[in-house]
Structure formats: C-alpha cells, structure tokens
Amino acid sequence: MPLFLFKRFLQAVLVLIGVSFLTFIVAHLTGDPVELMARENATLEDKQELRAFLGLDRPLAEQYLSFVGKAVQGDLGYSFVQRAPVTQLIAERLPATLQLAAAGFLLALLISVPLGIVIALKRNTVWDVVVTALAMVGQAAPGFWIGLMLVVLFAVELQILPVSGYGGPLYLILPAITLALQSAARLTRLVRASMLEVLNADYIRTARSKGLRERTILFIHAFRGAMIPVVTMAGLELAELVSGAFITETIFAWPGVGRLAVNAVYQRDFPLIQGVVLMAAVFFVVINFVVDVLYVVIDPRVKLK
C-alpha cells in the first residue's frame, strides 16, 4: 500500500474513533434511558438495579470502551422500544436504503456526467445557459420539495406512478429521482467547470497538434483529467445522498434505515439512534477512503508525492 493510502487509512481510523466518541457523548447527554424504560411505578431501587444491569453506573470511559468493544463485534446495543437488537433492526432495513441510495447515485451520475460534458463542449450556447440555469434552480430548491411536486405531477395528476411505498421498480422511480436531483445539479456544474478547465490545458493543444481525432482528444486526453475532481466530489455526494435518504424515505414511506432513524428520534429510542449514527459515520469514512483509493488509480501523480 502506498504511503499516501496508509496515511489516509490511519486518518480514517482516527476519525472513526472521534465519531464514535461523539456519538457516545451525545447519546449520553440525551437523558437517562432508565427514566424512559422503567415502569411508571418503579421505585428508586428498581431503577438503580436496572442501571446496574445496563452498566450505566460504571465510569464513563469504561462505558465508552465497552460500547466500542461491542460495536466492533457487530453489537450495537438493544432497542428497548422495538424489543430487538439494534444490529438486527438496521440489517433488516439496510437493503432498502442501499437500493435507494445506489439508484439515486447512479441516476445522479448518469444525468450529470454526460450533461456536464455536453454543455462544456457547447459552452455559451443556448443549451449551456438553459442547463446551467436549471442546475442552479435544482441546487436551490429543497430536494424533498421537488420530490413532493413530482408526486403531485406523476402520482396525483397523471397517476402513472405510485404515491409512496415499497415494492416493484415503479416504486423506486420517484424516490430515486428526488434523491438524485440535487446531486445531479451540483455535479453537472462541477463536470462542466472541470471539463472546461481541462479543455483549456496546454496538453489538449498538444494532442490537437498531433492530429488526433476530436473523439480521442475528448475521451482519452480530457475525460480522465476532468474526472479527478468529480470523483472526489462524487464521494461526498454519495455521503450526502445517505443523509438525504432520511427525508426522502420519510416522504415516500420507504422502509429503510433513514425512516427507522427518524421514527427512533420521535420515539426517543436512543440505542437505535446511536447505532444508526455510528453506522452512517462508518459508511462515510469508508466512502472517503474508497475515494482516496480511486484517486490514486486515476491520478498516478498522487502516489509519488
């Protein structure tokens, strides 16, 4: 493993420790779970006993270490509200979320990369102005609001797509678009800017001076260089999508981790929230690391620094 990646790996581990500590502290500050769990007529002794049983009477550092130790083994605690292990609850909902996030991410890339390249090549034409304006509006409008408007159009007025729920591919369309649009808008502008910068580079002129076909210049010489910032950004966008999934899942009654978490917040199900936050953070860190690896693959200069 190159030094660059090793450093990034260490950094990722450090960030994970930081995130887990933060989650732990926040969860700890959110109030005494015993008050929520205990029966209404429980005595002080009952509560003490429960506290001891849950290990909440031990020093904070010890509680944190045991929390991390268990988390590493896949034990994220027990949801007293749902009466099930947190890991199991998350695992049940994860496929739906991954499905949605993957669809949304793919859609965002499929929209933004070709569109960004085309308007970069046709810069300052009507196409460029129209697409750029649309992208700016797409960036400005709340993603979930666009989703609601899509529901009005396609589900209520035209009645060609279901309003909400989980089932066949038809159910995936509106949530995926809702999730993708903001990312697509941001990425389109990024691809355009990045492509324009590369197309202005001296080495593109060199490629042209060799008499290469425009197609070769575009796909071999320009595309790869232009994708370097896009890959970095796309990683962050994927992380953003996971956050966006919380609201999107709520709107469309999508049975994913996001909806689970939002409901857990309303029900004050702290172990569950803690588990979801930690898992999402791990996901973020892993994505960032994958982006770094990809970066080395596309840009060989990084390896040698």
């Binding site: 400005a140 409008a141 709340p142 996971v242």
Partner: protein, 284 residues
C-alpha cells in the same frame, strides 16, 4: 454608457443583479410583512378552506396564492415565513462565521499540532451524517428558534473553517508577514492588520453560500417537525402542513417551496457573483 459597454456590464454582473434583486424583495417582505401581507398570517377562515390560487378555476383575488386547510391565506404566510427563514439564515451565518473563522484562523496561523487537532475536528464533522445529528439534537433538547440557529450554525461552520484555514496559510507564508513576525510584531497585531483583511472577502463569499444552505436546512428540519415551531409560519412548516394535502391542494406545498427555492437561489447567485469578483480559486 454605450450599448456595448452596457451589455458587457450586465453580462458580467447579471447574476449578481438578479441575486441581489431577489434578496432585496425577500428582505423587504420580511421587514414590512404587516403592511404588505393582505391577511394576518394565522387568521383561520373555515369558510374558505383549500381555496386554489387566483389563476386556477375556483380561485379568488382575495387569496392570490390560495388558502390552506384552515383557510389561512398562503401569500400572507409566505410573506411572514420570510422572517423566520431570513433570521435563521442570518443567525446561523453570524454564529457559524465566528466559530468557523476562529477555528480556521487558529489552525492556519499556528499550524503544527493546533492545525492537526483542528483539522481532525473538521474531518470528524465532515464524516458525520449531519441531518441525522441535527434531528437527533433538536428532538432531544427541544426545538425553538435558538436551537435551530445553533444547530444550523454547527452544520455550516466547517465551510468557513476550511476556506479561512487555507487562506491564512497562504497569507502567513507571504514574505511581508514573515518579515513582520521576524521583527517581533505581536501575534494579535499580525492577525488584525495582515491576515484579517485578506480573509474578509472569502468569508463573505462563504457566508452567501452558507446563508442559502442554512435556509435549506431550516426548511428540512421544520418539514420534519423539529424546526422553529411556535405560531409564526415558516416555509418548512408550511411544506409539512401541505404534505397531507398533496392530493387535493398542491398549492399548499408549491408556494412555500418556490419561496424557499428563490431565496436560496438568490444566496447562491450572490455567492457565485462575489466569488468571481474576488477569487475564482475558492470555488468549492
């Protein structure tokens, strides 16, 4: 001004002009809401529930944008909603800018382990699913104006920290700052006289974008029911109200969404414009 120079002027400043115009309209609505709004924002009129906008069949001009499920005038509520969005935006910008710039300043100026620790903090924050944390905090400690402002500021401080850190690092390496340091000019004086002037314009650029981001975040939080709360309408709350009436009153959702989008667009346009005027390298 000849026509050619006029075209060039508006070509270069068009986005700024559009952004500032929208922002001006929104700010005016917020400030003069009691005089502009045709109805009190919370006046319930059960006789006029779910009236569509004026241009739709069945709409009337006394409720240009229609009414909601309680017969409240949507135009008036949108106008009053600007107050919440703008004050959350402004509050978050001020707090976020202070926290973020301070962190960035310290990290960039002192470098070394200070930078390492603060950069680590920034990284932790960036690796956090923030929406969830925000919902979590607000649900736990309760909503309300101040909580929302603080939470939104927590979401945006990183933007300032990163930009300021980078800018300070490049300024600190300039010869004139090195020179000032070597002759023993006190740190605070260096910060105030050499570094602050150089980071002011990037901070303003980031503030424009962050204002837009703050308004979007507030809308999302209110939509989820953990927002400012209270009786005063906010755009996010209106979106939340409208959600249950998508089937028969799309305008309840459409209008506050358009207001949000326009305001956010204005913030982004001003940010783009300021960025082009100051330093294109700050593009995030």
């Amino acid at each position: 001004m000849t026509r050619a120079t006029a075209r060039r002027f508006f070509g270069r400043h068009a986005i700024g002009l559009i952004g500032l115009t929208i922002l001006f309209l929104v700010v005016t609505s917020a400030l003069f809401a009691p005089w502009i709004a045709p109805h009190p924002p919370s006046a319930v009129n059960l006789m006029a529930r779910l009236v569509p906008p004026a241009w739709v069949e069945g709409g009337t001009f006394s409720h240009v944008l229609g009414t909601d499920n309680l017969g409240r005038d949507i135009l008036s509520r949108v106008i009053y909603g600007a107050q919440i969005s703008l004050s959350v935006g402004a509050g978050a910008v001020v707090i976020g800018a202070i926290i973020g710039s301070s962190v960035g300043l310290l990290a960039g100026y002192f470098g070394g382990w200070v930078d390492a620790v603060l950069s680590f903090l920034i990284n932790v924050q960036l690796s956090f699913p923030f929406t969830l944390l925000a919902i979590f905090l607000l649900a736990t400690f309760g909503g309300g104006f101040l909580s929302v402002v603080v939470v939104v500021a927590l979401a945006t401080w990183v933007n300032y920290a990163r930009v300021v850190r980078g800018q300070v690092m490049s300024v600190t390496n300039q010869d004139y700052v090195e020179a000032a340091r070597s002759v023993g000019v006190p740190t605070l004086r260096i910060l105030r006289h050499y570094i602050l002037p150089n980071i002011l314009s990037p901070i303003i650029v980031v503030a424009s974008f962050s204002m837009a981001q703050a308004i979007l975040t507030e809308a999302a939080l209110s939509f989820l029911g953990v927002g400012v709360g209270g009786t005063q309408p906010s755009w996010g709350m209106m979106l939340n109200d409208g959600r249950n009436y998508l089937q028969n009153a799309w305008w309840m959702t459409a209008m506050p969404g358009i207001a949000t989008a326009l305001t956010v667009l204005a913030g982004n346009l001003c940010g783009d414009w300021l960025q082009d005027r100051t330093d294109p390298r700050l593009r995030q």
